[in-house]
Subunit: 319 residues, 2 copies
């Protein structure tokens, strides 16, 4: 006598159930059962994205799915965790075509396989508004091994993974506001590269992912650790595509968001070990400055040609 | 040199950080660290709700917050889990007043204290659409002790907690479509009662929460366990307020959603133990029928005065 199954059940069965892993019971139960690896702590983070705010309405659904997972995976990477699984909520307009779900699920499938995790559960609903998505990603780390934002000490080196500024430039390129002949920058905006495997509490004192701009995020690391930071602008790693745009974009690179690289505090004696692990993980790692004692001045000072830069709405100037 | 903190940081610090528990680091890190209770499995569920779809735009924000937590807690309750923590994503229009956040956080505070859990993390964003919220709730259960939808056997009793049908009637009342002089039904729609502590794998063979209507959800339990179900309509527990509306509302009560009660399969020899635990938890528990062997007929048969009911758009009729 049970009525016909609503469209949500059908969508879940068709598109999301194939992504379900151990403990998710094919998404047919009320909840997932996750057996934590013995002796490990869980590292958990959640993000929401909304069409027209965090991604462009015309962005390919598979890229939206992958970016949603990756912005969370980037947080796990910065904490030294490895991914286990994720939950997803998907709110879409009633007229969302089946093809959207097909592409969205393909993106999830690709990245969950790439990063070694599976779908644990979630919810699909309709909305009269724009597509609104959330993901909760769960990872694990040996007990006590989550790397915090707090922990940098004066004398530690400031390191960043990959290159800085491509995400912000890529957004401008995607909006048609600057040239990106190779599509590299747009690609960097659309598809962050979570640096899983780079961070380990054995030799990294503090870390965070760079998502709101290098200068601002370095400020968070300084406040959390009660230290200051001195950065050499010339040392901040820059992609070829960003370099080709010229020096005018320096401030954008240093303050723009969407990098999803990792910012690390590493003691001098641990530097070799961390560099070795980065090499093994195939991740570029660059020392851009050093932490110092907290003082009355600004927490973060970026020097260009040895002179402190001041960032403002119009770019930057020397102090 | 870091720029001013955006409004999101301020909102998080003001309204959400006070709700953060152990391992959430005051919501100032990239992720939360959850140390699973040794030897326990985690039980995890997520739900999304959208203004105008899942709650009324004018619903008090504190009630929206509490219902969001409770629909997830109801899933944990049905699985025999106890709550540990939750993550939240909050997407709101740019002009959302500060008072909305104050009330929303008050609702969270009230229920996280009532149910013994804390905020682990999340995200706040703006949206050009309606308020869109999601919660991921994490609970725990002794290893292997999550109660599944599958597991009912022929001869097991069908039990439900509380009373059935108030949620669906309460929605109609909230929409002004039926009288609710005491406000009881509206209250039942707005504020589900998660039955934490009712279910234990030691003596409950299968369980699920009733959220899509008793008849449909019982169908899920039957399919999961490859059994059938025979229910006596007269036995289905009914609140005084629902009873006062008269027999015309029987089909609505049996098929309407938003009950957030628990449906259980209990072997005859375990019945006394389960009833005892329900008494201790202060939860009414009613036997409404029994499971049988799966056959060629419908999985779920509800009898009224001994005659099978057929549910349709116009209510119900005898077969």
């Amino acid at each position: 006598l049970a009525g016909a199954l609503p469209i949500e059940f059908d969508r879940i069965a068709r598109h999301f159930a194939p992504l379900a892993g151990t403990g998710a019971f094919g998404l047919t139960d009320d909840a997932a059962c996750l057996i934590p690896p013995p002796g490990e702590d869980l590292v958990i983070t959640a993000d929401a994205v909304v069409a027209g705010v965090h991604f462009l309405v015309d962005d390919p659904p598979e890229m939206v799915a992958r970016k949603l997972l990756r912005v969370n995976l980037s947080d796990l990477a910065a904490k030294g965790a490895r991914p286990l699984g994720y939950l997803l909520t998907v709110s879409v307009p009633a007229n969302t075509p089946e093809a959207w779900f097909v592409a969205f699920a393909q993106g999830l499938a690709q990245d969950q396989s790439l990063f070694g995790m599976s779908l644990l559960g979630g919810d699909t609903t309709s909305t009269p508004g724009p597509v609104s998505l959330s993901a909760t990603v769960i990872g694990c780390v040996r007990h006590g091994g989550m790397v915090r934002r707090a922990g940098a000490r004066p004398g530690d080196g400031i390191f960043v993974s990959g290159s800085i500024g491509d995400g912000a430039l890529g957004l401008l390129a995607a909006q048609g506001r600057l040239a990106d002949p190779t599509g590299f920058l747009t690609g960097r905006y659309r598809l962050p590269q979570p640096r899983i495997g780079l961070v380990d509490a054995d030799d990294v004192r503090a870390a965070m992912d760079v998502s709101d701009g290098l200068v601002q995020d370095l400020g968070h690391l300084c406040r959390a650790g009660a230290v200051s930071a001195a950065v050499e602008a010339e040392l901040v790693p820059c992609s070829e595509a960003a370099r080709a745009l010229g020096a005018d974009w320096l401030a954008t690179r240093l303050t723009g968001g969407d990098d999803y690289e990792v910012l690390l505090a590493v003691a001098p004696e641990a530097e070799a070990t961390v560099r070795q692990r980065a090499d093994l993980a195939g991740v570029a790692l660059t020392r851009i400055g050093s932490f110092g004692s907290a003082g009355p001045g600004p927490a973060v000072v970026v020097r260009h040609s040895g002179v402190p830069m001041a960032f403002g709405a119009g770019g930057w100037s020397h102090f």
